[in-house]
């Protein structure tokens, strides 16, 4: 398959024979006349940190809504660890942890109540949920905020609780839509570090959507969207070479500007 050939090019050090963590094939989506996504295909291998780069309006949020089954994929195919999201949403969604761009915690409930609610939405019983919540909150030093109302937390803390929530059901693929937008530098760094650690230590796969280019590492897979079209997909360092750029910033400008350079494997 075309996408397999392309992702092997990224030569995942964790490469395995199983299905890709996320695979999109020719996904298109329109809002009436306006095409938000146009024949987008890429895949993410298990255990990789992939960055979805694009300016506002590039189609990132639409893509996330399709992957999380909020919108139906009418054209193309999306699979999460081999499970087609359209035909088998249950099996795909249970492997998926999602952090939406908009804040989605209940402000009037406590951190604990919010987390228990999410656990129940994944069929996780009280005892098991309590144990997971304790572990996860400890890992981000927020155990003492368990009984605080969400309204009293800072923006960075709310984000971290949302990430904890997305991890409660132990997903294999974590989607984050502009998770660091509106946060101060310190919170941004902490969150990014924590997510990268999850990839390294737990082998979880991450799709990190952002328009903040400084969040990209050279070893990351980057997927660049421009006006709904995929303009690059590959390892950041390879894309630098391909676009003869010194910085990712420069590469991004070239890719979303006049020059359209697709990853080499694509015909």
């Amino acid at each position: 398959m075309k996408s397999e050939a392309r992702s092997s090019e990224i030569h995942s050090d964790r490469g395995r024979a199983g299905p890709a963590a996320l695979e999109l094939a020719s996904v298109s989506y329109s809002y009436g006349e306006r095409k938000a996504l146009d024949e987008v295909s890429f895949s993410i291998e298990p255990g990789r940190f992939a960055v979805l780069l694009g300016l506002n309006g590039a189609g990132k949020t639409t893509l996330f809504s399709l992957i999380s089954h909020l919108y139906a994929t009418r054209h193309g195919d999306i699979r999460v660890f081999g499970h087609p999201i359209n035909r088998n949403p249950g099996d795909a969604l249970r492997r998926l942890g999602i952090v939406f761009q908009a804040r989605t915690l209940d402000l009037d409930l406590t951190v604990k109540q919010n987390l228990f609610y999410h656990a129940s939405l994944h069929g996780i019983g009280t005892r098991s949920a309590r144990q997971r919540i304790d572990e996860l909150l400890q890992s981000i030093d927020m155990s003492d905020r368990l009984d605080d109302k969400v309204r009293g937390l800072s923006g960075g803390q709310i984000r971290r609780v949302e990430i904890i929530r997305a991890l409660l059901h132990r997903p294999s693929l974590l989607l984050l839509d502009e998770a660091t937008v509106g946060l101060d530098i310190k919170s941004r760094a902490t969150i990014l570090r924590d997510i990268r650690r999850l990839v390294d230590e737990k082998g979880i796969s991450v799709l990190w959507a952002t328009h903040l280019i400084d969040e990209v590492n050279h070893a990351d897979q980057i997927v660049v969207l421009d006006k709904g079209r995929l303009v690059a997909d590959g390892r950041a360092s390879d894309i630098l070479v391909r676009t003869s750029s010194d910085t990712i910033n420069q590469a991004f400008s070239k890719l979303t500007g006049i020059v359209d350079i697709r990853s080499g494997g694509k015909s």
Partner: protein, 285 residues
Amino acid sequence: MTAIDFAAGEERKGFKLLQYLICLKGILAREGLRYFSQKERFVSSLVRPLLWLFIFAAGFRQVLGVSIIPPYQTYVLYEVYITPGLCGMILLFSGMQSSLSMVYDREMGNMRILLVSPFPRWFLLASKLLAGVAVSLVQVYAFLLIAWFWDVKAPIAGYLLILPALFLSGLMLGALGMLLSSLVKQLENFAGIMNFVIFPMYFASSALYPLWRIQEASPLLYKICLLNPFTYAVELIRFAFYGQIEWFSLAIVVTVTLTFLGGAVLAYNPARGLTIRKQEMGASN
């Protein structure tokens, strides 16, 4: 946690019955917490029917005599007559309010958290609906308790017997609200729906006056009342107070509930397009 917990190879399929119950319990608990953490909401939901009972009914009883009609075996005070209608009104407002909160949740993003749960969507929506009904039943009984002290009383057994009738009516009105919430694009539009749905449903029904009176006044209005499912919800509750089942009303309420519920599940099914149509508004890219 170990790496194995996140491993993709591990096969996870389907849910056990117990997990369905955990999910339902979680949704019920959240609805309850949200409702009772806002005391104003609880108080205001009680004040509305009490105003009708204390003021409207007191004034109106001099104007409108109610003759002996089933299920009543004696002349009853007007307050007694409108109590089932006020129970229905609580359910009506509550059903619309919980759907209003769904529109709000959708704008605020909370609805997404519900909809990305791996449980089947019909189950999530039905649980959400049940949670709304459970909260409104608490309101109805709180209202009936206060009415009791105001000397508006029904046979003791009646208070238990109305439970299934209230539950069914609550489901019907909640399902209607859910269907409407899926069709409404934005919060502002919802005020219109309140005016065009709640008030006509309430006034063009047997909640405030017996249907034979309406028939005398206006045959057209009488026909409208007969087409209004809310009429049958009220009658179902009214008869249940006196230990009777109004079979025709029961059949109507059950049929309408199933219809609205089916419509709501379809409307929230992403493949059907209704969700997409309204999400265009919110989607920024």
